[in-house]
């Protein structure tokens, strides 16, 4: 399927600082695309370029194959990391305003606002001013404000930051629902918890560069380490030297609270998983045998720490907000 949005060799510099370095990425239609990276990696800058707020210094961005223009913003929904609502406006007025800004006619806007307020069971709150509703409620309003116009592409910058767990789950469900209706979604995050369950594809950005890109399952397969876990009901004497295995093959042993003992083995061509399983079966009460697939979190940490420069640090100060 053709990509909904595509960045080709995109560069952006603020003063002396190169915030985006030759970024290529392509978001397939109807997919959920995760942009991962530590704070200050340049995710927000990239997202602002994708959502027409700023323009790249060089390179090109294509929306449905056409060069990205301001008019395309009408088909996008955007929830920035720095977000807020007009405190003195009512929920309904506010949503209506955002819907009209995104190009809906007054009539369509009203219908859409009603639909979403009903969908989230918030009709009773429609006439309340934003300053009178709870923070969680305001967060829902905030999310609704970017999807009212049924966008083709939804861009969410750190969508789960600041949301309480209940609302974060609700947003997660809504994201999946929108995806099933054909919406393409890009979201950035520096937390990995949600990535595996949500994303189809992801890219890791570090210090302005894309260091990894691909489908979530491919990435994990690529990062397959050959480590297997074998669990028993009691301690086992492996006696590795008798099977002419080097001592490093056994990476670790862990006594679990339920009395289980889990051993982690490094397999290789000379010591295949089949051989490990056969060996394990000779040791008695085998209860568990599994491939140790690295989590995205582990891949992320590995990738980022492997890249030449050290991590910029967890402070937001590294991210340049001033745009020249």
């Amino acid at each position: 399927m053709s990509p909904v949005i595509q960045a080709i060799d995109v560069c952006k510099t603020f003063g002396e600082q190169r915030v985006s370095k030759n970024i290529h990425l392509s978001v397939p239609q109807g997919s959920i695309y995760g942009l991962l990276g530590p704070n200050g990696a340049g995710k927000t800058t990239l997202i602002r370029m994708l959502s027409t707020i700023t323009q790249p210094d060089s390179g090109e961005i294509l929306f449905n194959g056409e060069p990205l223009k301001e008019i395309h913003a009408q088909q996008m929904g955007y929830m920035p990391e720095e977000r807020g609502l007009y405190k003195k406006m009512t929920v309904a007025e506010q949503l209506l305003f955002f819907a009209e800004l995104r190009g809906l006619s007054n009539k369509d806007a009203k219908a859409s606002v009603k639909h979403w307020l009903q969908r989230l069971e918030m009709m009773d709150w429609a006439r309340k001013k934003v300053e009178e509703i709870s923070k969680g409620m305001a967060q829902k309003v905030q999310f609704v404000s970017c999807v009212l116009h049924n966008p083709q592409l939804l861009i969410l910058d750190e969508p789960f930051s600041g949301f309480d767990p209940v609302n974060a789950d609700l947003i997660k469900d809504l994201i999946i629902e929108l995806k099933n209706q054909g919406t393409s979604i890009i979201f950035s995050t520096h937390r990995m918890d949600n990535v595996e369950s949500l994303c189809d594809r992801l890219a890791i950005i570090h210090q302005g560069e894309k260091v990894l890109d691909g489908g979530v399952s491919e990435i994990r397969r690529d990062h397959f380490t050959g480590i297997f876990e074998v669990g028993f009901n009691q301690m086992v004497d492996w006696d590795l030297s008798r099977n002419s295995l080097p001592a490093e093959t056994l990476i670790s042993m862990q006594n679990q609270s339920d009395g289980k003992v889990v051993y982690r083995f490094q397999t290789s061509d000379s010591f295949t998983p089949e051989q490990l399983l056969k060996l394990a079966m000779t040791k008695g009460n085998l209860v568990h045998f599994s491939e140790n697939i690295p989590s995205i979190h582990e891949i992320f940490v590995n990738t980022v720490s492997k890249s030449a420069e050290p991590i910029a640090g967890a402070t937001k100060a590294a991210e340049p907000f001033v745009m020249f």
């Binding site: 959502s51 027409t52 707020i53 301001e70 913003a73 009408q74 996008m76 955007y78 929830m79 920035p80 720095e82 977000r83 807020g84 609502l85 007009y86 405190k87 003195k88 406006m89 007025e93 305003f97 955002f98 009209e100 800004l101 995104r102 190009g103 404000s145 970017c146 907000f321 001033v322 745009m323 020249f324």
Partner: protein, 463 residues
């Protein structure tokens, strides 16, 4: 274009529907009138020093008869013969002051000294000076053999009527006082409106920035459209308020003039006009602050009835010139220059609002923006009111930063159409240029969080 309208609609509706706005629209004129009434009341009723002052007088010139007919609130005592004890009594507060007139020449009383323990006010000094001068004058008249009653009857009065000859050959009654009043009132309104609504634009831009709404908005609206929608929306709020006030004012004027026309006959109006002019000439002198006027003011307040009488005369005097004013020209000049001036200044205010992160950072940028506005107002009060067709008034009614205020003062006196067109053209050009410059600052300012911006930053954003 559609987005400008969506922004405009929001800015306008949220403000006009606001309860404070509705209340203030009706209350502000009342507050304004109340404010001026209170100022006038305080100035006339309690502005005087009403303490009774005991003053030593050294009557070195017996011809002056200084101890007779003291000014109001003064008790005069003959001073002790030696000056040391007179000064000691003043210092100890036994008496308020010691007035020592050494001069014997009636034509110019040069060496008179007033010793006090506290610095006398200008009014006090002028009152005494006038009192001595009157005494000297009266003595001179007396030397010529005139009695006091004869002196008063010799004082002449004059009434100068002003009529305007228009190009059609009509001769109309005119009133420069009325025109000054109207011009000044309109200039004052523009001045206040630009401040009030300009800072409204600024706060609106700041609110969007500090509440982090702005990034959501600029993802679907160009920053320029956002700024223009905001400026125009607030302008519409101002115009709405203004129209509401005009309706209120016209209602009031019609109500009041209906009252006057019913109660006054032709003859009394004629007389009223005469005495009204006299009263007003006195008032004009008072404003200029000359010594004579202060004593005049003192005399007027000495007869409490006089003030009220004069005021009702003035109202009657204005009825005819009021109907001769070029209303259409005044109103259209006011509206054009109000809108032009507001647009020019509010684009500055919008840029400031977008640049700063909190209210307290505003101050450093406000100064250079408000300075020309205040300057224009000062020019309007002084030069333009005194000489509306003078070179200075003409110059500042051309410079776009001051023209919205100065031109409106000149408008009731009749400004040639060519001057109006040139001035307005310059204003529009400057406004377009400034909106463009401001939008460049705005575009970057709204997304810049963090450190307090400096003038250098703004300059960098401009380029």
């Amino acid at each position: 274009m559609k987005n400008i309208f969506v922004i405009f609609k929001r800015e306008y509706l949220t403000r006009v529907k606001n309860k404070t706005f509705i209340i203030m629209t009706f209350l502000a004129p009342l507050l304004m009138v109340g404010f001026y009434a209170a100022t006038i009341y305080i100035a006339t009723e309690t502005g005087e020093d009403d303490r009774t002052k005991t003053v030593y007088v050294s009557d070195n010139n017996p011809e002056l008869l200084l101890s007779h007919n003291p000014p109001a609130n003064y008790v005069l005592l003959p001073a002790p013969s030696d000056s040391d004890s007179a000064l000691a009594h003043v210092e100890r507060g036994l008496v308020h002051a010691w007035l020592n007139v050494e001069d014997r020449d009636l034509r110019s009383v040069d060496s008179a000294t007033y010793y006090t323990s506290e610095t006398p006010s200008i009014t006090e000094k002028e009152t005494l000076k006038e009192w001595i001068r009157n005494k000297a004058t009266q003595r001179q008249f007396a030397r010529l053999g005139l009695r006091e009653g004869q002196i008063d009857s010799l004082q002449s009065s004059c009434n100068l009527e002003t009529k305007e000859v228009s190009s059609q050959g009509d001769v109309k009654e005119s009133s420069s006082g009325l025109k000054s009043g109207i011009g000044f009132a309109l200039a004052f309104m523009i001045y206040i409106f630009i401040f009030v609504y300009g800072s409204m634009v600024m706060r609106s831009a700041m609110e969007e920035k500090t509440n982090r709404i702005v990034e959501v908005i600029v993802s679907s609206v160009k920053p320029f459209d956002l700024m223009m929608g905001k400026i125009l929306g607030v302008a519409a709020v101002g115009l709405t308020q203004f129209v509401a006030w005009i309706v209120l004012a016209v209602g009031l004027v019609f109500g009041i003039s209906a009252l006057f026309l019913n109660s006054g006959s032709g003859m009394t109006t004629k007389q009223a006009v005469q005495s009204g002019v006299e009263a007003r000439t006195g008032m004009g002198g008072m404003g200029a602050g000359s010594g004579a006027a202060v004593s005049m003011g003192g005399e007027m307040s000495a007869q409490p009835g006089g003030m009220v009488h004069g005021a009702s005369d003035m109202a009657a005097e204005f009825t005819e010139p009021l109907s001769n004013l070029p209303y259409f020209q005044i109103l259209s000049v006011f509206l054009l220059f109000f809108v032009g001036g507001y647009l020019l200044y509010s684009s500055f205010f919008a840029a400031i609002g977008s640049a700063v992160n909190q209210e307290s950072d505003v101050q450093q940028f406000m100064m250079p923006v408000t300075l020309p506005l205040v300057f224009g107002f000062v020019i309007a009060q002084t030069v333009a009111l005194k000489a509306p067709h003078g070179a200075m008034a003409k110059l500042f009614s051309m410079i776009p930063l001051t023209s919205p205020i100065v031109m409106v003062v000149r408008a009731p006196f009749g400004v040639p159409l060519s001057e109006l067109a040139l001035s307005f053209g310059l204003l529009v050009l400057t406004f377009v240029l400034m909106v463009w410059l401001s939008s460049r600052i705005y575009r970057i300012g709204i997304l810049s969080y963090g450190k307090k911006p400096t003038w250098k930053d703004l300059w960098k954003w401009l380029r």
